[in-house]
């Protein structure tokens, strides 16, 4: 089921003053993989995403995307190469209409991206039940639809690899489950997905591989069963009791 390596990092280091946000982080994501990244607050999950998509430059280490060293590439170039990211706090354009939100990403990328990416967008649009012609400002949407809108915006840009930073935060269990189902289907249609998530039921539902981050380092990596059974993982989540 696993394909070629599509996104990998080698020894990423990032410090903010005295705080080590990433230390020796080396991960390797394969095509068509659905991976969850978990870890306690401050473990460096969002920093890792910011490094992957180019918001931050690492102090040292390398990022390789589709066999190309993208470490010094600006964020928009990585997006044009097929990387997509949603933020931890929702950053759809709240003042603009749903229609505008979905029209904004759909230019250069869709023309360049594969038919599969276009199909995935159309499919997600249907499942997330959003009217792409709606003139209502995005801020009027309920929270879970706003989260879905941002995922759709990113999908409209036609990525092959999707990075989602806590997509189900604040959602009800039903909405979380629905999100999980859609992401699984998209994954089944060839989309590589990496999700930062706290909700362990969501992780159980979707993850094929789980990476645990702790204090900026990779703590352990494995299947959902291995991770949930791991006593050390329980300990870092629950404290050293």
């Amino acid at each position: 089921m696993n394909g070629q390596l599509v996104l990998r990092t080698e020894g990423l280091e990032k410090r903010f003053g005295g705080i080590v946000a990433a230390s020796g982080v080396s991960i390797a994501v394969r095509e068509r993989e659905l991976r969850c990244i978990i870890g306690p607050n401050g473990a460096g999950k969002s920093t890792l995403f910011s490094l992957l998509c180019g918001i931050y430059r690492p102090d040292s280490g390398r990022i390789v995307f589709k066999d190309r060293d993208v470490t010094s590439l600006p964020a928009f170039r990585r997006v044009q190469m097929g990387l997509g990211l949603t933020f931890q706090t929702n950053r759809a354009f709240h003042a603009l209409s749903v229609r505008q939100n979905l029209a904004i990403p759909s230019r250069l990328q869709v023309a360049a991206s594969s038919q599969a990416a276009v199909d995935r967008y159309q499919y997600a649009l249907k499942l997330f039940d959003l009217d792409p012609a709606s003139e209502a400002p995005a801020r009027q949407l309920p929270h879970h639809k706003l989260q879905w809108l941002e995922i759709l915006m990113v999908l409209a840009a036609g990525p092959d690899v999707l990075l989602l930073d806590e997509p189900t935060a604040g959602m009800s269990p039903d909405e979380t489950l629905q999100t999980a189902r859609v992401l699984q289907s998209l994954n089944g249609q060839g989309l590589t997905i990496v999700v930062v998530e706290h909700d362990i039921s969501f992780v159980r539902e979707v993850a094929q591989v789980v990476t645990v981050l702790h204090q900026g380092r990779i703590f352990v990596e494995g299947s959902v069963g291995e991770i949930t059974a791991n006593a050390d993982v329980r300990q870092i989540y629950l404290g050293r009791a």
């Binding site: 998509c53 918001i55 600006p74 964020a75 928009f76 997006v79 044009q80 997509g84 990211l85 933020f87 950053r91 759809a92 354009f93 709240h94 003042a95 603009l96 505008q100 029209a103 904004i104 990403p105 230019r107 250069l108 990328q109 915006m153 990113v154 840009a157």
Partner: protein, 342 residues
């Protein structure tokens, strides 16, 4: 053709109904028939109310649509005006001199705007610093031009003239026809309408949507694959050239320019015109710029010294009670009522 209509009648500006276009056509017709209801001197005055509109439309796109506030639009106004004066003054007697000089003025705006904008946007200067940088640029230009008195400050046969400014600048001319009086009015009207329709098509295009995305959240826009630096630079240069159009019209209208035109007071006025109408809509800015220039001119010609005070008070009132601008607020109110009615 239908694509063209979609661009002109898109939803990023006010006025999309048949009634709006009928009213707009009537207004334009009224202006076109101006000689029937206004003297040549009146036409000369009305030309003045029109000529700042391109500058204001440029600032509207830059600030209202793209989120970059500039206090430096008058610098490009001045650059175009001075360059026009220098070239046209040196080509005096040549029927095509004013056209060459106009193109030269616009080119100068594009070059200066590109260099300045490149350093601002490619250095990813934070948004709140841009107004300060642009204001400083304007004041530097004013200071420089102010000390150009004296015979050594001349280009060819044209003297820059220090604080007395540059005088006897040739009017606009195509072939042997000089644009003055009514014909200057028509020329200004056509230029303003062309600028407006061009801007309107731009904001309704995909590039216009990208501008909105950058205004709302530049990082989110970049992470949808847009090179926001390049987009901001393009709009900045465009706004500089639109300010240059106004500068050209101004010297072709009044035949003189002084450094005061790029001074502190003039630098603040475009922000007032744009904010009072509503910076998120081109049409609102077009109307408010015309109206406020009319108001300002009436006060000034009656010898009233308080015009800047009124402008400042107006800005404060609008910011407090109509933060989105008077015309935009009114338009939204009527649109809201129509929605409720249906």
């Amino acid at each position: 053709m239908s694509r063209l209509i979609a661009l002109i009648n898109g939803d990023e500006d006010l006025g999309r109904s048949v009634w709006f276009w009928l009213a707009a056509a009537l207004v334009v017709l009224g202006f076109a028939l101006l000689p029937l209801w206004e003297s040549e001197f009146g036409a000369y005055n009305i030309s003045f109310y029109l000529l700042n509109i391109p500058l204001a439309l440029g600032l509207c796109m830059l600030w209202g649509y793209c989120g970059v506030l500039s206090f430096g639009q008058v610098a490009y106004f001045g650059v175009a005006a001075y360059v026009y004066g220098i070239i046209a003054g040196n080509m005096i007697g040549n029927n095509w001199g004013p056209i060459v000089a106009s193109l030269g003025g616009l080119l100068a705006c594009a070059v200066v705007g590109t260099v300045f904008g490149y350093f601002v946007f490619y250095a990813r200067v934070q948004a709140w610093i841009v107004p300060i940088l642009t204001l400083v640029f304007t004041l530097l230009l004013e200071t420089f031009l102010g000390q150009t008195a004296g015979y050594q400050w001349r280009v060819g046969i044209v003297q820059l003239g220090g604080y007395n400014g540059m005088t006897a600048i040739p009017p606009f001319q195509i072939g042997s026809h000089m644009f003055m009086g009514y014909s200057f009015f028509y020329y200004a009207l056509i230029v303003v309408l062309a600028c407006y329709l061009g801007c309107r098509m731009l904001v309704n295009s995909q590039r216009g949507k990208t501008m909105l995305a950058i205004r709302e959240d530049d990082l989110r826009a970049e992470l949808l694959g847009y090179d926001i630096r390049r987009h901001q630079l393009v709009v900045f240069v465009l706004a500089a050239m639109l300010a240059g159009v106004s500068g050209l019209l101004y010297v072709q209208w009044g035949n003189y320019i002084t450094p005061t035109q790029v001074g502190l007071l003039q630098a603040a006025l475009p922000v007032v015109w744009v904010a009072v109408g509503g910076r998120e809509r081109l049409l609102a800015v077009l109307i408010s710029t015309f109206a406020l220039n009319w108001f300002n001119y009436k006060l000034a010609t009656q010898g009233n010294q308080y015009a800047p005070v009124y402008m400042g008070a107006l800005l404060v009132i609008v910011m407090l009670f109509f933060p989105r601008g008077i015309i935009v607020t009114v338009a939204e109110f009527f649109r809201g009522r129509r929605w409720k009615a249906t």
